[in-house]
Symmetry: C2
Subunit: 596 residues, 2 copies
């Protein structure tokens, strides 16, 4: 069973992502390291002891629908109630609306733990947090005061309604429509699919944020507006009023996250018996709906990245535990003391060691990237100066954090099955669920291919390439410190980090040159390998950063050993990835005709 790695999380926040420094610099107000530890510890307890035990029943029962009513798995209503009673829903929200105004760093760390406990469950508050953010940034004062307190407390939950059957990655073609009414409200009509927690029984009301088009809207992405459409209308006194004209038509039958209802939502077909049209209110300006979405996109993408980290952590824990218990065959050489005759725990077999170390290194690397991204967001809001730099840093790291963490989430979950052997394929073991759940994360909230396009075309070019340059310079500095450190056992780490950083540098230069020359297709042909190259290089450097912090404290060499393993094994791939970026495009262009 999952046990939240509170110490590891706290260490990564403080010494890799920069939380300790931010506290020292006085940027986080009253927050001290002790309070951080206390919050993480309590979140860890809730995730391990309350959420994780209900994950399996959620997977097995799934969310169920009957006559438009969606029932969550046994125990989940109570779980959600306990969770909001803990105040977890409003960690980062403004104190004005009942939140705790804590740094994003803490929230993503907590999100990791909720998702390790049950990704399907954690999706509910993840969506609510996105809705809060959008309303807080763009909603009128009336909308804020009516909706935010209950959303921040978690009494009501929120959703994001973007996708339609023909409009997924490309929102410019969506068809849902909205009509103005004289009272300042709107009527919303249309069908939305893949709406996470779009309908359920765990909260009193559900506040839908819906992208739709006004009658006179320009075509494409510049004609999309954002509307707030509650399941139950709110009376003047704040009590719940009439049922709005929106319904859940069906739930999807999915590979994973079974406990999370993925809804097809119908707006405005008159089922409520009133005048047709779901009553909604504009959020932000007309035709600026996508801009409102972009406000929250970075955090939402990072939140999905946390799902990758979370599954990887949980899958690794499970695999390590199994590999310690399961005996099979006699391991060769390097053998632990006392290993005589008979069978060894499989954790002593070199191939299993390689799998488990790979899982551990990728998990910790992805975690460090994601937390560093959250750190940049916090700094952008709180640092006295350099706001633009930190904003750009967050923007740059977001696609890498989302894609790398969700890709390794799938890979690590799959390795976890492999470590379990035949038992891994049996559902009751639980290892397979991690793979099934993890598999959606590289897809939603912008597929990882979309992330790669974003990274290459919109993020590398920030400050004319200055932001990525400054990040690469920081990585060089870490590699230099590895070389200068007196810590033993770093092996070839410094050299491997420098090779990786040079690969990243060269691939970056090449991509920027292609973009400058207008060769967009050539640049995009290498976008995915580039994204992985970025993630692997950050992994190596951030593991080294943590190892150096330990080494300076004279602590045990565990982090150094893991960092060295990653540098000498996982990072060996960076040159191949660079080659695919800078030499692969023309072969793609030449071969694409065989597909059509």
């Amino acid at each position: 069973m999952y046990k939240a790695p509170v110490e590891e999380i706290a260490f990564t926040l403080k010494h890799v992502a920069g939380l300790a420094r931010a506290i020292d610099d006085g940027l986080l107000g009253d927050l001290g390291e002790d309070l951080v530890d206390a919050i993480l510890s309590e979140a860890g307890r809730f995730a391990s002891d309350e959420i994780a035990p209900l994950a399996e029943i959620g997977d097995r029962q799934g969310a169920r629908i009957e006559n438009g009513t969606v029932t969550t798995p046994d125990g989940w209503r109570e779980l959600y109630r306990d969770w909001i009673a803990g105040g977890w829903n409003g960690l980062t929200a403004s104190e004005t609306f009942g939140g705790q105004a804590l740094p994003h760093m803490l929230n993503v760390a907590a999100l990791e733990m909720w998702n390790s406990g049950s990704m399907a469950f954690a999706l509910c508050p993840t969506l609510t947090m996105g809705a809060i953010e959008a309303i807080a940034a763009h909603g009128s004062d009336a909308l804020k005061s009516t909706y935010l307190p209950k959303l921040v407390s978690g009494e009501w939950t929120g959703t994001m309604n973007l996708t339609e059957p023909h409009a997924g990655s490309d929102l410019g073609v969506l068809k849902a429509r909205a009509e103005r009414r004289d009272d300042g409200s709107y009527r919303v009509f249309g069908q939305k699919i893949f709406i996470t927690w779009g309908e359920h029984d765990a909260a009193d009301n559900i506040i839908h944020l819906v992208l739709a088009r006004l009658p006179d809207a320009p075509a494409g992405t510049r004609g999309i507006s954002l509307f707030l459409v509650p399941k139950f209308l709110i009376n003047q006194d704040g009590s719940l009023g009439a049922r709005n004209d929106l319904f859940c038509h069906a739930l999807e039958h999915k590979l994973g996250i079974h406990g999370s209802p993925t809804c097809t939502m119908i707006y405005g077909d008159g089922r409520s018996g009133e005048e047709k049209g779901a009553i909604g209110w504009l959020v932000g300006e007309e035709n600026k709906g996508l801009a409102c979405m972009f406000t929250m996109m970075n955090n939402a993408r990072l939140a999905v990245g946390m799902q990758g980290v979370a599954i990887a952590e949980a899958a690794t824990q499970k695999a390590v535990a199994y590999a310690r218990e399961r005996t099979q065959g006699k391991a060769p050489g390097w053998s632990a003391a006392g290993q005589t005759g008979g069978m060894s725990p499989i954790i002593e077999h070199p191939d299993v060691i390689r799998m488990l170390l790979t899982m551990k290194a990728l998990t910790q690397g992805a975690r460090a990237i994601a937390y560093s991204c959250a750190h940049a967001t916090d700094m952008a809001h709180r640092a006295a100066d350099a706001g633009k730099h930190w904003q750009e840093r967050a923007a740059l790291l977001t696609p890498v954090a989302k894609s790398f963490a969700t890709d390794i989430g799938v890979d690590v979950a799959s390795l976890g099955i492999q470590v379990h052997g035949g038992m891994g394929f049996i559902e009751e073991t639980g290892a397979a669920r991690y793979l099934r759940d993890a598999r959606i994360a590289p897809i939603y909230e912008g597929t990882n291919g979309i992330q790669a396009i974003d990274l290459v075309t919109r993020k590398l070019t920030l400050s004319d390439g200055g932001e990525v340059k400054s990040l690469i310079a920081e990585l060089r500095e870490i590699a230099g410190r590895v070389g200068a450190s007196n810590a033993e056992n770093f092996g070839a780490t410094e050299n491997r980090l420098n090779v990786a950083i040079t690969d990243l540098q060269q691939a970056t230069d090449w991509l920027l040159a292609q973009l400058a020359a207008g060769n967009t297709a050539d640049a995009l042909a290498g976008a995915t390998p580039y994204q992985r190259l970025f993630g692997l290089t950050l992994t190596g450097c951030y593991l080294a950063k943590g190892a150096l912090a330990d080494a300076e404290d004279g602590k045990a060499a565990d982090r150094i050993a893991l960092c060295r393993f990653a540098a000498e094994n996982l990072l060996a791939e960076t040159t191949a990835l660079k080659d695919s970026v800078v030499n692969g495009a023309s072969s793609l262009a030449a071969a694409r005709s065989i597909l059509v």
Copy 2:
């Protein structure tokens, strides 16, 4: 819906694996290319039109058990009856027992198609073929004449009973036991798990091959005997007699291959009401049971490799079809004619092109490796001389074919989901089933980690390293022919192949040196990356072999384009893999302590 790629399969058999040459050399009797085409075409028709349409219901219903009776999914009994009526069960079996004595090459090609249609369904005859092989090689004349005709026809099916809860990869510790009886029969007792198609309703009888220990057997793997234990005993006249004392106790609830009943089998608990003990007969000699298993292991492992190829092919077809239909966003540059404004089919987006080409190249590479392995087996049996060389070649290629094909089966199925975006996560789409089914193949019939150990410790050393050397020399020759060919558009293929071959050579030399020095753990630390290096290098070279055959015929450049894509993108990884092999071991040894 899957459509068997009969032309591609025939081409690979003939011009990459060596079927055409074997026919020309008169090694395959009456078999000519036309007959090969006719057989493949008919098998393809059956797989596409009969099996594939029943795959989804098999997955959804699964095999069901009630009171020890196992029911297959709707339509599968009839499907199996039709399939054996086609004579497909006995393609390679001896004519003495009703088989067709065709080369293994044809059977693995057919197996690929059955598995693309439905892996869960194809598992049934796959197990029967293994049983036929074991009985044919080691059974007494009486066993052969009693059991082989019905097994070869497919009226009865066969199983392999190896695994017990504590004995998976390590069979030396199995506990099932057998007692001698005066009449020459045995009584078998014990529990076996993960028995594929151990009980079902599609055939009249089920012939179990069971590993068990005699009372006076030596400990470990040298004390294991193989027994034939039929579900129904056979009367003197060949009719079915009494129910034997063996039962299916339960079915596993698995991630995939739901239509295939995975049984827990109980032998000899007296449930049949007779004297306790399942009645069985010895196959081969007492205490030599594992040797009997080894006889069929190569073919069984290759058969599992075909599952990887099969899923990869089916998943690729599905993804390509979807990517042609689905429009989203406007693709940049390189654009196909007529692409003005609006949205492009996603198959024109560079990132999707990369995914689909990767899927295609890995599938065709794995297919070529697997067919080449079957070719070596055929040559070992049929070539006038060089029998030992071909036997060793088959032995060398088997772990690579099994592991590489099943690993890429998972990877390609996962990419297939990604290409589908959100739809890929919805079960009704069918893309997710491929991943669920594929995930078992790297585990059973020897995990891919076990394959890697086999490759490094038992296969590289064949003929003192001579066999692997001769294979590498052949690969060099292919790379040389690429360089010498006048075919345009090979790009950097020759260079990339040579780099890969040198990586393989160096890693091989290093491993052999470690083994010679007794550093087994160091060698095994790199066994998995080595196995992948082997598979990727073969992929590049075999794609080139096919491309050269096309080029010599003056045919279209499709194969050259795909080969170049693979060489310039996928093969870029070989140097990293070699580095992990030759430089990675000490970091594993150093870091392993953090796991325990």
